[in-house]
């Protein structure tokens, strides 16, 4: 079965006064997809979500939902529902009434409505709480009811505005799994907004990285992490070392690189126009220490060490440059390197991304 296009955003711009929140943004979200809008605060991700919901109108461009133009429709005429960051449960209504609210406005018959409310409460494991009011619930429970309320009217697309940000760490992890499972179970297209890269990598089918009102990259979590298209994406997603390098020659998407470390090698590149100065990105976990050093090998001195449990982070200085190196503590008594020690470092050609400016 070919997947349809659930949402198409085409050339959308948004101005707030003289501030350009979004600049000519275009992308499509496929049916049944878990699609994440990821970016730092002020990148326009929430504005984009609010435009799909109908709370904001684009200054320019069009938005369509399963082929129908919706940019000028008010929120109550769009078959999408939102899980709000603050949950926005109606405090004067019981949980049942909250979930039934949308169904009533859609004119569902009473019997059908009650069945759906019961089904939704079951879905989010809150059946025993039907008669309670929102202020009698914990944060996680409110989150579940907000989800049930938004899913009840069988929206064509479910919009989630940083729904996990108000929860504590442990609950957040559990809710991630639950959200993902819920999406698979219901088959509804999810559009998820977050500034948390871990959440995005963990849950999404595809991620759209936004920065400064523009799309920086769209791709699967591993595309985004392993093959960042520009410095912004490489910097925002995960930790990385940026190294100044010189492109000696170009051959398609391969570049011959010379680095300040005196190493010369070939690496994958994106967006480099021609020979000259460039930046390369090298993730800390892709640099091997001592017996794990392979590929391009050189030496450096340990300057700092941070034990993180599963990993130990080192700062290693070499030729005046400090590299962040992350080493997995795979064995219970994995060797730890003391500050000041001289170590061998190495990375493979394919671990490097050369980025255009």
């Amino acid at each position: 079965m070919r997947r349809g296009e659930a949402v198409e955003v085409f050339n959308v711009s948004k101005m707030f006064g003289t501030y350009q929140a979004l600049d000519q943004v275009s992308f499509t979200i496929k049916e049944n997809e878990f699609f994440t809008l990821l970016g730092p605060s002020g990148c326009g991700k929430t504005t984009l979500l609010r435009m799909i919901a109908g709370f904001e109108r684009p200054s320019e461009g069009s938005i369509s939902l399963f082929g129908a133009e919706i940019a000028s429709l008010p929120p109550h005429k769009r078959h999408v529902n939102t899980v709000f960051q603050s949950y926005a449960l109606f405090p004067h209504m019981s949980l049942e009434q909250n979930i039934a609210f949308g169904l009533e406005n859609l004119g569902w018959a009473k019997a059908k409505r009650q069945a759906r409310v019961a089904e939704m409460l079951e879905l989010v494991h809150m059946s025993d709480f039907a008669k309670r009011r929102p202020d009698q619930l914990s944060g996680g429970q409110r989150q579940r009811i907000a989800l049930a309320r938004a899913l009840a009217p069988e929206p064509q697309v479910l919009l989630l505005d940083e729904p996990l940000s108000a929860l504590d760490l442990k609950l957040r992890q559990a809710m991630r799994d639950e959200l993902r499972a819920l999406q698979r179970k219901t088959g509804i297209t999810f559009v998820f907004v977050t500034h948390d890269q871990d959440e995005a990598l963990d849950m999404s089918d595809r991620i759209c990285v936004l920065g400064q009102g523009q799309i920086q990259q769209i791709g699967t979590p591993s595309d985004i992490y392993e093959e960042p298209q520009n410095r912004f994406v490489a910097d925002f997603i995960g930790a990385t070392n940026f190294l100044e390098a010189e492109v000696v020659s170009l051959n398609g998407d391969q570049a011959q690189i010379r680095t300040a470390l005196g190493l010369e090698f070939t690496a994958a590149q994106k967006g480099v126009q021609g020979p000259g100065a460039a930046t390369m990105s090298l993730r800390p976990e892709k640099i091997g220490l001592e017996e794990q050093a392979s590929g391009n090998v050189f030496t450096g001195t340990i300057r700092s060490r941070n034990y993180m449990g599963g990993f130990t982070h080192y700062a290693v200085e070499t030729a005046g440059i400090t590299l962040q190196v992350s080493r997995r503590n795979a064995l219970s008594h994995a060797e730890s390197y003391d500050i000041g020690r001289e170590v061998k470092l190495g990375f493979r050609d394919e671990s490097v991304r050369v980025l255009g400016q």
Binding site: A53, G54, F55, P74, P75, H76, V80, N81, T82, F84, Q85, S86, A88, L89, F90, P91, H92, F101, G102, N105, L106, R133, D135, R149, A150, P153
Partner: protein, 288 residues
């Protein structure tokens, strides 16, 4: 030390309550069961005559006849104060909503404008309506141009206009406070869940602003019950209300005991309203 302060610190409040509320109230209560003085004032002699007078008048042959004329005054007062409260509610809701959804700077300006009339004497402001509604006034001329007959003044309608005008800021402020406290996402959630603006107003905004509306209603209804200026100026004294009735009894009618009796009836009505409101609030408290 702290104990002492707790006691002595309350002294000003006690003095105020005793001196300006309880003692005057007791005086009024005493006067209401005293004999009417020949030239105003009262004489020390217990009688229930003033209360009798509220419901019965003395006929030709000294028999008591049921006479509802003062009941009509009480009824008119209740109806006008009630209507004032309802109209204030209906007008204040959209006004407060608009103010609450402006920028913080604009909000401050608009709230200041709402309270601005308080800086001008109430008499002057009500007097202004006398001119506006008069035959040569702005509204009076429009009324005649539209084919209206007679004058708008000295009617219950004119009094109502004046009362709504006088008391509406007391409704706008608490309703504004209630709407401003609402999470804007709640209104968006209404729209998101397929409620039209009207349905959102009815099912989300209205129930959540009830506390503000209740507070505003008390603030409007209670003083409206005892209002004097509007019936005097805009009602032309032709439309007696409890406030003007009391004032007349202590003034030109020189019947202090009767005036005091009416004043106590008015006070009992106010207390009933306040108790009902307090009970409603307590029930609500108990539920959540």
């Amino acid at each position: 030390m702290r104990r002492g302060f707790r006691f002595w610190g309350l002294v000003p409040a006690w003095v105020l309550m005793l001196g300006t509320l309880l003692i005057p109230l007791m005086i009024v209560a005493i006067v209401s069961v005293a004999q009417r003085g020949a030239y105003g004032g009262f004489e020390w002699a217990f009688t229930l005559e003033p209360y009798r007078q509220i419901l019965f008048s003395v006929g030709w042959t000294d028999e008591l006849e049921f006479d509802p004329k003062y009941l009509f005054v009480i009824g008119r007062t209740l109806v006008l104060a009630g209507a004032t409260t309802l109209i204030c509610m209906m007008l204040a809701l959209p006004v407060a909503y608009v103010i609450a959804t402006r920028t913080p700077r604009m909000k401050t300006v608009l709230i200041y404008l709402v309270t601005l009339p308080f800086w001008v004497s109430m008499i002057v402001r009500v007097y202004a309506w006398l001119i506006i509604l008069g035959n040569d006034g702005f509204v009076g001329r429009i009324w005649h141009a539209l084919g209206g007959q007679g004058t708008l003044l000295f009617t219950p309608g004119a009094m109502l206009v004046g009362m709504v005008y006088s008391y509406i800021p007391l409704m706008v402020l608490p309703v504004f406070a209630a709407i401003e406290k609402l999470d804007p996402a709640l209104l968006e959630a209404g729209g998101d869940l397929y409620a039209s603006r009207w349905t959102t107003a009815r099912r989300v905004i209205l129930p959540l602003t009830w506390p503000g509306l209740a507070a505003g209603s008390i603030l409007v209804f209670v003083p409206a019950l005892g209002t004097v200026l509007e019936p005097m100026l805009l009602g032309g004294g032709k439309q007696m209300m409890m406030g003007t009735l009391i004032q007349t009894q202590f003034g030109s009618a020189r019947n202090w005991p009767f005036g005091a009796a009416i004043a106590l009836v008015l006070m009992v009505m106010v207390v009933i309203v306040l108790v009902l409101n307090a009970r409603r609030a307590m029930r609500k408290e108990a539920r959540s």
